[in-house]
Amino acid sequence: MQVPILKQGPYLIATIQSALTDADIVQLRDALVEQVGRFRSRGVIIDVTALDVMDSFATGTLRDVAHMVRLRGAETVIVGIQPDVAFAMVHMGLTLEGVTTKLDLEEGLDHLNRNIKTTAGR
């Protein structure tokens, strides 16, 4: 299933709504990295609230997205990781190092608003 990517002001929001195959995740990665440039976005939010499992491929790819998006000049926030999923991930050593994570969409937007405002103000 393809993941819809919504453009919301300077941000892109991708809400994952069901379990994804590896191909879907790769497709999401490519679409996000491409659209960050096309829409001149400053931030990307990936909402994984609906996922009740995150394997190493998904985690690794999301981390890649975050790093690639940073190289394209925007910031990525992953939001909505479920408590059980979080603990399972950490147990497998998938800690999403260097990637910002927030509780939910609201927190993610709040974080981006704050960070991007401070950069713009300088």
Partner: protein, 296 residues
Amino acid sequence: MGLAQLRNEGKPANESTAVLLRELVAHLGQNRTQLREEWIRRITEGRLLTAMSKEEIFAEATSVYDSYVEALETRTLETLQSYAQNLSERIIPRGVETHEVVGIVLLLRDVLARSLFSKYHSDSRMLNAVLDAYEPAANAIAITVAVGFVRERERIIRQQQEAIRELSTPVLQVRERLLILPIIGLIDPLRARQLTEQLLRGIRANRAKVVVIDITGVAAMDATVANHLVLTVESARLLGARVIVTGLSPEIAQTLVNIGVDLGKMNTVGDLQGGIEEAERLLGYKVGPLSDTTPA
């Protein structure tokens, strides 16, 4: 189980067993006072039920005796089962032990058997027949009472474990979006797992941004639990919360260093007060005495 047993073992000579049991019940009814006295005497002699007064023993003995006879008469164990449960509920809090309960039921069985011996001692064929009817029924009753007692004990133990488990890991909100998790006592792997679960759920439920885990009350932890603590901190970060660990004892600090924790990931502060101050700073609170802001 006990019920089926009582009926099955009575099966081969169903009719005659019923007749014999009826006779037996009549005998026990006639000699109620005397047999009960004898039984109570032997309970006192055996120093059973020392937690109860003489009057209480008498009252309990009377109702146990009557339920016992009733179970023999109706050849069902339901009444006895519920009576046994009720009895257990009353006497367990008073410190009555398993051996005492089983002991008194077995004593009653013996007292009644003795009375049968003395009644039928001249007619050994009849004695055998009566005992054949009596023994399986009496054993089933003893099993029912013992199982009822043990089951009640186990229920209480489970209930208490549950209570301890719930009490042992409170997750408290001290400010908007700030949780503290005071941990006291020994942490075993089970408790550690439960702690993590509660914390992660608490973060979601209270939308916490910062969590202070205070382990002043934990004297030492082994490498497994220390590792678990580190995993918990990481998991909380994935939920978007920052964790501050406070009150590490020297031993725990050593354990953490020995297992090679990446200290860059762990935010630690000396004591709970410092931890809360640090958390308030992270959340953007500014707390100080009123006199600082309003000049006198």
